[in-house]
Amino acid sequence: MARIFAYIVHKRGVADDSAFELAAAARKIDPAASLTAILTGWGADLDAACNTVGASYPEIWKIANEALAYPNAELVRKALQKVLPSNSIVLVAHEHFGIDLAPGLSIKMDSAFVSDVLDIAGVEGANLKVVRQEFGGQVSAHVRCDISSGAVVTIRPGAFKAVEITPGSSQVIDKSVVDKSNAVGTLAAGRRYLETVAAEAGDVDITKFNVLVSIGRGIQEKDNVAIAQELADALGAAVSCSRPVVDAKWMEKSRQVGSSGKTVKPKVYLACGISGSFQHLAGIKGSPFLIAINKNPKAPIFQVADVGIVDDILEFLPELTNKVREMHTVAAK
């Protein structure tokens, strides 16, 4: 079996949670494989980050280079190419950095590439069998990947339960490229990081509400957003949404729940016309009571909701609003 490496994303001296999920995925590929974490970066942050993964990785490789202080995928790829043995299996989290790094790395390593993996189904000879999702999570697929010349595999965040292996002791090995003629820092990147621009705050802070009326593509047009707003007003809730609503410019980005939007922790989450992509679900924390209303009985949201109603939200929501208003009127009398 090939060596397995996990590329660890870290920030301000702390490894991302995905570090421990990659370790779990690696163990599922081969519990006996030699497992190594690789971290790139610079200075005290890098050293501190290396120390935060010892619980899951017996061996940690660090590549320190000032040019890698901010993770520019092009430079990271060049650094990894220098140190990774051929035929390695390289695991990377399937998030914005992994999406940048992994496909090109597989080309340069001349190895197979399989992305956004949810589960490992096993190894049969030279083939790794994995589980992926397609069509917005409506169906899953088994995918076979020939790993005889290595593989780059991206792992969906949250798909594997993080494990701590406590190897007893772990060692950090400095793999920083010292050969000046070959140093990573001297390689000019065709892409240069400038700055990070923080998301705009928006008019309503959806993270502050106990109840969210959250709308998806099923709202169909901008004018229909009012239907959800009326329900939210009656409930004392806020309207949030999934990505397609923001893409269509029907609501501000600040209303979006998901990995590229806000993370919310309401008590009750009404998912209205939302299919339930994993990127959306990643933004819902704290296990709220999830009620899904969707006219497609196959919508993946029904797999994760507590209660589901197969109905057209454009008819269901106004009637629900009327009922809430009736209750308020009765209560006022």
Partner: protein, 263 residues
């Protein structure tokens, strides 16, 4: 600026209930509504807007077959100057790397300053753009949600990162960018527009036209293959309410109140 946009025709997830066929080795494709992959459409719109600002041409290309021509026509109706079909029996069964290899040979036959792809396909893995860039040794940025053309053969692009934040980068041309949905508002295409480009010739490139040996593409070269489809049992699943609408509404209100959600 000469811009190439790589596009794909896919089953439209928002319009379809995807089901397995009886053999379980594929999805039921008979009744599916197909359309252009959504992020690809945003990529074409972005290319058209760049050309409107700085001049140039937009070419849309797809690796596929006869059925896929409709999306090229659709994008030409949006305003793309050229449509190109890259088609050969030898291409069938290609994995992501195979498709990227085919596109690489096509790119090398032309002179493109900028190559755009959608960030990912409904049945794909956000792979072809990054692979194509690596094969060409061009710089690459994924999840791009704004593009500004700078002086001196450079772009300023922002990438969508976690929490709605944006990572700003400068990138040299020629480069490959994968485009995220929401970067713009793609223009509407009516039947009339599509009829107007119905007779515009679409050149086809085969493996031999591209000088492409078939050992690097197609099923035999693929290191990654889909074995089967299945419907996963994720979690316990929702309790589906089967009452009348009125009963369901009462139940929802009862639950919202019970979970501490009503004022």
């Amino acid at each position: 600026m000469e811009i190439l946009v790589c596009v794909r025709r896919v089953p439209d997830t928002s319009e379809n209930e995807i089901e397995l066929n009886s053999a379980g080795n594929d999805i039921e494709r008979g009744e599916l509504v197909y359309s252009i992959n959504e992020p690809d459409n945003y990529a074409v719109e972005e290319a058209l807007q760049i050309v409107a600002r700085v001049g140039g041409n937009v070419t849309v290309a797809t690796v596929g077959g006869e059925d896929d021509e409709e999306i090229l026509r659709r994008e030409m109706a949006m305003g793309a100057n050229h449509g190109v079909m890259i088609s050969d029996e030898a291409f069938s069964g290609s994995d992501g790397r195979g498709i990227a290899t085919i596109l690489k040979t096509f790119v090398q036959k032309g002179h493109y300053d900028l190559i755009l792809t959608g960030v990912q396909a409904e049945d794909g893995g956000a792979q072809v753009g990054g692979m194509l860039a690596a094969l060409l040794d061009y710089p690459f940025a994924s999840l791009v949600n704004s593009i500004e053309v700078l002086e001196g053969k450079k772009l300023k692009v922002s990438r969508e990162i976690a929490g709605g934040n944006k990572e700003m980068n400068e990138i040299d041309l020629p480069c490959v960018l994968s485009i995220q949905t929401g970067i713009n508002e793609p223009r509407y295409v009516g039947m009339r527009g599509i009829r107007q480009v119905a007779s515009v010739p679409i050149p086809t490139f085969s493996a031999s036209d591209l000088g492409l040996g078939t050992s690097a593409v197609g099923e035999a070269a693929a290191k990654v293959n889909r074995v089967d489809y299945f419907v996963p049992a994720l979690g316990k699943g929702a309790e589906i309410l089967h009452g009348t609408r009125e009963e369901n509404i009462d139940k929802v209100l009862e639950l919202v109140a019970a979970k501490g959600g009503l004022k």
